[in-house]
């Protein structure tokens, strides 16, 4: 087989002592940048990029790629333990990860996230190995009409995200959509609600908002409930911790979640511009609408943690497909990798894998090894991280404030974003108190601008006609999938539930 000989060639290149060292460095740095809130993989890549000037491209690219997918492992740790997403793709992991920790299952949650990340990452690399050329067709069939439909599909999942009180949920989503309108209007170039500020030209980035709403908002709420006064009181009740390892039930109940999350994550990751963040949010919503127990989501359901975790790792693998097969970066981090290729004088594009097959297959092979290394690092590091939750809250609280502020600042070195984060924290506190949905706000803030821009681009292209959505085969397939996921599946679920209820009555 051609693929296997290529892969073995890649492995033989990857497994040299020096390259393995670079891979290990990349994995560790990735873990660390993932753990620090706000400080994401693109910033981590920044630190090591200049160091790669004098390196062999194979070792360098293995290291840089490991930072990227390694951060997907690390980012979840603070999501679970502190309700503060380590980076954008792990926002969805706070939804059920933190409630799990609160229930005294921090250990199993951390182990399951590592396992889920490993499965997602490995399935992603497998799909690259076997199907990269096929998926490059997917990445090149996406134009503005498809992006709009994709964003619309994401926005439809708001229906499951807004929770039990739909009025408050809708208000939350509308706040998110409103915040999404800030920034220079892409089409006319005019500033919207920027008040002449240069820092608002690019719009409101959702990371400060998410850190404020989830991390600090939760902290304020804990202070409000008087948690800091309880001398021995900790953020997460560690005494309830019965066992460190997940139960067989945890693995069994989420085995299909992992499969679904991996495939969905990979496909979304392949689409340039969608990326790991959208993949994880969509996987969470999809899992919730498919679940037999949707009412448990947000209260510490293992599937609610596993779905976004597999998806964001699979997406980070998927994002390599357009990079390697077309030379198009799918995300901020892969854009840095593209810049690295160009720094080394390589020419990314459709001929890249042919012309640089050693580099390309060395990278792919290293991703299998990198995921194994990361799984091992995680399993050993988790007992250390779990110690965080044993720190009394009155000591941990101030540290969280500092971490949130510092993390926000490091993203763009912007004070305005730190103030935005603080503002979001106060809003988050009240949202928590009165039962609004911060998750819906964040999802709307991510997808709103994407939907608006894509729709306006589409209608400019078609001179105002909506027919364009039905003339392109890629658009039609997305419409079909949306109808299937949003209309048919819930209907089937409802019929199934009714049939069951009927049987019960009969019985």
């Amino acid at each position: 087989m051609d693929i296997f000989s290529d892969l073995f060639m890649g492995l033989s290149i990857a497994i040299t002592p020096m390259n393995m060292l670079y891979l290990l460095i990349g994995a560790v740095v990735g873990m660390i940048v993932g753990v620090i809130p706000g400080f994401g993989p693109s910033a981590g890549l920044a630190i090591l990029l200049p160091l790669t000037f004098g390196m062999e491209p194979v070792g360098a690219i293995m290291m840089l790629a490991a930072i990227y997918y390694g951060s997907m492992y690390g980012g979840t740790i603070t999501s679970i333990l502190l309700n503060t997403p380590g980076e954008s793709a792990t926002v969805a992991s706070t939804f059920d990860g933190y409630p799990l920790a609160k229930k005294g299952r921090a250990g199993p949650a951390l182990v399951m996230q590592a396992v889920a990340s490993f499965v997602g990452g490995t399935v992603g690399v497998l799909l690259i190995t076997v199907l990269a050329p096929m998926f490059s067709q997917v990445s090149r069939s996406f134009g503005p009409p498809e992006y709009f439909l994709l964003a619309l599909m994401g926005l439809l999942t708001l229906i499951v995200m807004i929770g039990s009180n739909w009025k408050l949920g809708v208000i939350s989503a509308l706040i998110g959509l409103a915040l999404g309108t800030v920034g220079v209007d892409l089409e006319t170039g005019q500033g919207r609600y920027t008040f002449g500020s240069a820092e608002l030209i690019g719009g409101i980035y959702f990371i400060p908002i998410a850190i404020g709403l989830f991390g600090l908002g939760e902290l304020f709420y804990a202070f409000y409930t008087g948690m800091h006064r309880a001398g021995e009181g900790t953020l997460v009740d560690y005494r309830k911790e019965t066992r460190f390892w997940p139960t067989a039930q945890d693995y069994l109940s989420t085995r299909w979640t992992m499969v679904r999350g991996s495939i969905l994550g990979f496909v979304v990751g392949v689409i340039p511009g969608a990326g790991a963040t959208i993949a994880s949010l969509m996987a969470y919503s999809a899992e919730r609408s498919l679940s037999k127990t949707p009412e448990n989501f947000g209260k510490g359901e293992m599937a609610g943690l596993v779905a976004p975790e597999t998806a964001n790792n699979a997406a980070s693998s998927g994002a390599m497909v357009p990079l390697l097969t077309l030379g198009i970066p799918g995300s901020a981090s892969t854009a840095v990798l593209l810049a690295a290729f160009m720094l080394w004088g390589l020419r990314p594009g459709p001929l890249f894998m042919e012309q640089n097959s050693e580099l390309a297959w060395g990278l792919i092979a290293s991703m299998y090894l990198g995921n194994i290394i990361l799984l091992v690092i995680n399993i050993f590091a988790i007992p250390l991280f779990v110690q965080i939750v044993k720190v009394p809250y009155r000591m941990l609280g101030p540290c969280i404030v500092v971490i949130c502020a510092l993390g926000t600042f490091t993203v763009n070195a912007s004070f305005i974003e730190v103030w935005l984060m603080m503002g979001a924290a106060i809003v988050g506190f009240f949202m928590r108190m009165y039962g609004f949905s911060p998750a819906a706000l964040v999802l709307a803030l991510v997808l709103g601008p994407l939907a608006e821009q894509a729709l306006r681009q589409t209608l400019t292209i078609s001179r105002g006609s909506f027919d364009i959505f039905f003339e392109r085969s890629a658009s039609l397939s997305i419409i079909a999938v949306t109808i299937g996921l949003v209309v048919l599946l819930p209907l089937m679920g409802r019929c199934g539930a009714r049939a069951k209820a009927g049987k019960k009555i009969e019985g």
């Binding site: 910033a43 996406f142 134009g143 340039p272 077309l326 990314p348 459709p350």
Partner: protein
């Protein structure tokens, strides 16, 4: 020897005096008295964008060359001060007015950001060192398009209104096709995208007819035949695009390009400006610089000192005029 001790003594005196008054001010004064550059001073190199971007790569390439050839005696710290499309980083440099130890590289946003936001500075405020290269654009269509060359493209565009994609509106991506269309006499809809990646996929998916973009990122797609290059906006076509005419050769000169240059804070000492002009003249002679120009498909264009300032003012005026006429800025 006596002179040497005297110098130390006067320095100590200045230092003690300085501590009594305002330490940093006195130390800076002492440094200014030395000839530029003082190896004891650290050069604060601002990169106004995040890592991996064009600005970042250029700055790191120059610093690498300075180190390799020992062209700068002191320490250099490179700092990514991203935010507000360059406003944060260049604002930081603006705040170092009068100093010769702050420096930054420029790119297109150096001209466009002040047009979009209320900033205290204009490009011409800074002390100009040199324009080293320009970023120019290539007009491309999809490889399966019937349009083979720029002549056919103009004919096609005159008969059917075309969609041309680019990144952002207050950007050279919009200005270049706008000026070209004006000259060639066709109309088009401009589709604005967030990034080069988005517009490239849109073109490959058949959603738009053509796009203007930096050749560097799409050379691979041009090589493989997935994209077809029609015309180049710079003064001379880079080697990688051999055979593609410039817009001027096609009969429609544009005369607008994005400046990649080097600037010092406003009112920097004249000896600092002179030092950097001389140093950059040596940098651009190195094979490393030639490789940088080639890898990033830039057009080498040199203007030093005040000529660079004039270039910046003219470019900004040209931009302002086009953008005002379409209502993108007030």
């Amino acid at each position: 020897m006596t002179l040497h001790t005297d110098q130390i003594a006067s320095r100590i005196k200045a230092g003690v005096l300085g501590m009594a008054l305002a330490a940093p001010l006195a130390l800076a004064g002492a440094a200014q008295a030395q000839t530029y550059p003082d190896p004891a001073q650290t050069l604060d190199w601002t990169i106004a964008f995040g890592p991996g971007g064009g600005n970042d790569i250029m700055a790191r390439t120059i610093v690498e060359i300075l180190n390799t050839y020992d062209l700068y005696p002191g320490n250099i710290t490179l700092e990514n001060r991203a935010g507000g499309s360059g406003a944060v980083g260049w604002g930081h440099l603006f705040g170092q007015a009068g100093s010769g130890y702050g420096i930054s590289t420029t790119s297109g946003s150096f001209v466009t950001t002040p047009l979009q936001a209320d900033l205290p500075w204009a490009p011409a405020d800074f002390t100009p060192v040199a324009l080293l290269a320009t970023d120019d654009l290539v007009l491309v269509v999809a490889g399966d398009s019937e349009i083979q060359d720029i002549g056919q493209f103009i004919e096609f565009a005159k008969a059917n209104p075309v969609n041309i994609g680019g990144t952002g509106t207050v950007n050279v991506d919009f200005i270049v096709p706008a000026l070209f269309a004006q000259s060639a006499g066709f109309e088009f809809e401009y589709i604005s995208f967030n990034s080069m990646a988005d517009q490239t996929t849109a073109l490959l998916s058949g959603a738009i007819d053509a796009m203007a973009g930096n050749p560097g990122e799409i050379l691979g797609l041009i090589d493989s035949g997935d994209l077809r290059a029609l015309a180049y906006s710079g003064n001379s076509t880079p080697e990688a695009l051999a055979g593609v005419p410039t817009m001027a050769e096609a009969g429609h000169p544009i005369g607008v390009s994005m400046p990649r240059g080097l600037i010092l804070p406003p009112d920097a000492p004249a000896e600092a400006q002179a030092f950097w002009i001389e140093t950059m003249q040596r940098v651009v002679e190195t094979p490393e610089w030639a490789a940088y120009i080639e890898n990033n498909t830039l057009t080498p264009t040199f203007l030093f000192g005040e000529e660079f300032r004039t270039f910046l003012t003219e470019t900004q005026n040209g931009f302002e005029e086009v953008l005002r006429s379409v209502g993108a800025i007030q």
